[in-house]
């Protein structure tokens, strides 16, 4: 590496601190006017050339949202959000059909390179025709969402051979309206909660996945969400449908530039699993968390819910939450089908002034339904970390079982860990177990590691990764390694 570049990198790494995705891409953008009203909802719908039913659906959501109040029950504190002071639509101006890497907007290319998406995949992401890998090793198919729109989706031809649909939700609205209409809002209705209603009114893009009957998806599907534009909220909507006997593993990653302002991210994810279908949904959330003084950062208000509609279906959520100034999210499972299984594995880190109120809801409706909840909360600096969970067992859910384990790890003496488990059991034959622990990284553990030659930070990383092991092992291999590094970076400077 030339000395100059090295110096620049070194300076950047110092000034940017630990968050290495905090850069901004300078690219020509198209915005809707700031603020939120019916016209903006109509603008977004028109921009996407949507059918009337979807516009009506959005407007209904908007009307509901106007009458709703922001939830105040989470254990997070933030100043009031001015919903009129944000852009609800921001998209890179599209240059039609680039034929080679040279023609693609270099700023977009650079963005993907910096996000660590491999070069060949990069060519794919930027939409270059004919750059598809012919697979010795099956790669990960990627949908890249840049601010309000999906810029590219890879490996579609390969997936189409199996009858799998993987595209942006905007495209699905055009090409598969019957599927979207049938399932959109069927798990998270428009009026489910304040942020879901907002999302339903103004969602701009997101991923759509349909796995036909009996098909095992041959590769990991993934979406990279990137917020880039200033004062812009991101409202993506993801819908995954797994027909009977199918199987899919999906992962999402997300990053944003470092800014002094707080930006809003309010996503909705809906999963539907039919008989014997399995959906594995993994998240590595790395939105900009704000600086060491708590300035800036993403407000992450997300509604994720999966419906195990079929017998013996399974939905498994795994999340590693390291970013965002505020995280408010409860990936949940509605266990309708008999013998269906819901899982929630979570690691949430709060450092500096980050706040997280996260957990899950497991609704046991079918007979012999099972759920497992493993939550690992790590608090450092002045971070506040709350596990909030609900296990609800209906009278008909005979033989239902739940096991919950909530562990909290404290680093330093100014942070907080809170556990708020709700259990509502209305079935006599159900079994519910709850275990919880709170611990701190002990001085003797650190000293032991350092005596063996590990630096203080490596020692913290090792101990934290050990603490999170049960969750990290649920992640797909490539992501597990990334997540481990991320945990360590997130905690840099938290000890000593």
């Amino acid at each position: 590496m030339p000395a100059v570049t090295e110096t620049i990198d070194a300076v950047q790494s110092v000034t940017e601190g630990a968050y290495k995705y905090g850069f901004e891409t300078d690219i020509e953008m198209e915005f809707a006017p700031k603020g939120l009203n019916e016209d903006i909802v109509r603008f977004i719908s028109a921009k996407k050339n949507e059918p009337q039913w979807l516009l009506d659906w959005r407007l209904k959501a908007y009307a509901m949202w106007l009458k709703m109040e922001e939830p105040r029950w989470p254990a997070v504190k933030y100043p009031p959000i001015d919903y009129q002071d944000s852009y609800y639509y921001a998209a890179p101006v599209k240059k039609a059909g680039p034929k080679s890497l040279d023609e693609v907007d270099p700023e977009l290319l650079k963005t993907y390179a910096k996000l660590g998406i491999p070069l060949k995949e990069q060519a794919l992401l930027a939409g270059v025709e004919g750059a598809e890998l012919d697979g010795e090793r099956l790669p990960v198919a990627v949908d890249a969402v840049f601010d309000s729109v999906s810029v590219a989706t890879t490996f579609r031809a390969r997936l189409e051979k199996e009858g799998i649909i993987f595209c942006s939700i905007s495209e699905a609205v055009q090409k598969h309206p019957e599927l979207v209409r049938q399932y959109l809002g069927s798990v998270v209705p428009q009026g489910d909660n304040f942020f879901a209603a907002l999302n339903s009114a103004v969602f701009t893009d997101g991923s759509f996945v349909y796995i036909p009957k009996g098909v095992r998806c041959p590769m990991e599907l993934s979406t990279y969400f990137r917020i880039n534009a200033k004062s812009t909220g991101q409202f993506e909507r993801t819908l995954i449908i797994a027909e009977a006997g199918s199987h899919v593993s999906y992962l999402e990653g997300c990053t944003a530039p470092m800014r002094d302002e707080n930006q809003l991210h309010a996503a909705v994810v809906e999963l539907v699993a039919m008989d014997d279908a399995t959906i594995k949904y993994s998240t590595v959330q790395n939105w900009y968390p704000g600086d060491a003084e708590g300035k800036g950062g993403i407000y992450n208000f997300v509604t994720k819910r999966g419906a195990c509609r079929g017998a013996r279906s399974k939905i498994s959520w795994t999340q590693v939450e390291t970013g965002s100034a505020i995280t408010w999210k409860y990936p949940s499972c509605i266990l309708q089908g008999d013998d269906s299984v819901g899982e929630f594995y979570s690691v949430a880190i709060t450092n500096n002034y980050q706040q997280a109120d996260t957990g899950t809801k497991m609704f046991h409706i079918g007979k012999n339904t099972k759920s497992t909840i493993v939550s690992k909360g790590i608090s450092a600096g002045r971070g506040q970390n709350t596990y909030r969970g609900l296990v609800k067992i209906s009278p008909k859910a005979s033989g239902a079982r739940n096991f919950t384990q909530c562990d909290s790890l404290l680093i330093g003496d100014q942070c907080g860990a809170h556990t708020v488990p709700y259990i509502e059991n209305r079935c006599i034959s159900a079994k519910v177990e709850h275990e919880a622990t709170t611990s701190r990284i002990a001085e003797d553990q650190l000293f032991y590691c350092r005596q063996r030659g590990l630096s203080q930070e490596d020692a913290v990383g090792l101990i934290v990764n050990g603490f999170c092991r049960e969750v990290l092992k649920e992640l797909p291999m490539e992501f597990a390694v990334e997540a481990q590094k991320l945990l360590q970076i997130s905690l840099e400077g938290s000890v000593g």
Partner: protein, 247 residues
């Protein structure tokens, strides 16, 4: 060579070491004996650099390097190894992962190439066989659910892998049955050589039947009050420390 001169140290403002003078020439093994509260463990922690043990005076150098100026991990890289009296549990951290991370951290600072997982496993299995350790101890969490004896053997295994220049064994014999004691002693004896020195802290003469020291020192009241050859350990066993105190 380890050279300690006039070393004084305190914990929470209470003086524990009152001027230690000790020299361990390279290649020698010295034993430190003494009653509880005499400062034996404090000396080992001070040499390893544990927080809360404040050096108030004196010097400690190893092969000319000022140990007291270094962070604990730098001392480890300089070749100082402490076998803990109470090895610490690290839940969820695989023993193999921990050992390899430690070994590679030290190799890195020495400028040696790091070992990959396969090279490491081969080496670790070989050492474990020598120490009669069951292989599943590599898979378990560091010291988690280990018996007292297993924990001590794990310390000896780490020592065998890291090959330190100076090993400090803090009551490694406590809690070991006679077979385990022999295995631990074999681990130390295997490292014996012109580039290795050791400071063996023990209450009992028993261990010194297996690790025969070049010198024996008695540490009482924060000072070395008596030094001698291996025969001193036997005398102490017979007459106790009160006799030393009286003398």
């Amino acid at each position: 060579m380890l050279k300690i001169e006039g070393l004084t140290a305190e914990i929470d403002g209470k003086q524990i070491l009152n001027g230690i003078d000790l020299e361990i020439p390279t290649g020698e093994i010295h034993a430190i004996m003494g009653p509880n509260g005499g400062g034996k463990s404090t000396l080992s922690y001070v040499l390893a650099g544990r927080d809360g043990y404040e050096v108030t005076g004196g010097t400690a150098t190893f092969n000319g390097i000022d140990l007291l100026a270094l962070e604990p991990e730098e001392r480890a890289a300089a070749g100082v190894f402490l076998a803990f009296q109470y090895p610490v549990e690290l839940p969820g951290v695989g023993n193999a992962n921990f050992l390899r991370t430690a070994l590679n951290a030290i190799r890195r600072t020495k400028g040696e190439p790091e070992l990959d997982a396969m090279q490491f496993l081969k080496l670790a299995r070989q050492r474990m066989k020598e120490l009669s350790m069951p292989e599943d101890m590599l898979k378990r969490g560091v010291n988690v659910g280990f018996s007292g004896g297993e924990k001590k053997r794990n310390e000896v295994l780490q020592m065998a892998l890291l090959k330190p220049g100076l090993a400090i064994l803090d009551e490694t014999d406590s809690g070991l049955d006679i077979d385990a004691l022999k295995i631990a002693a074999d681990g130390v004896n295997a490292l014996r050589g012109p580039d290795f020195s050791a400071l063996v802290i023990t209450h009992y003469q028993r261990l010194l039947n297996y690790i025969v020291p070049d010198r024996v020192h008695v540490l009482m009241g924060g000072r070395i009050v008596q030094s001698g050859g291996p025969e001193l350990a036997k005398q102490l066993e017979e007459s106790g420390y009160t006799a030393v105190q009286a003398a």
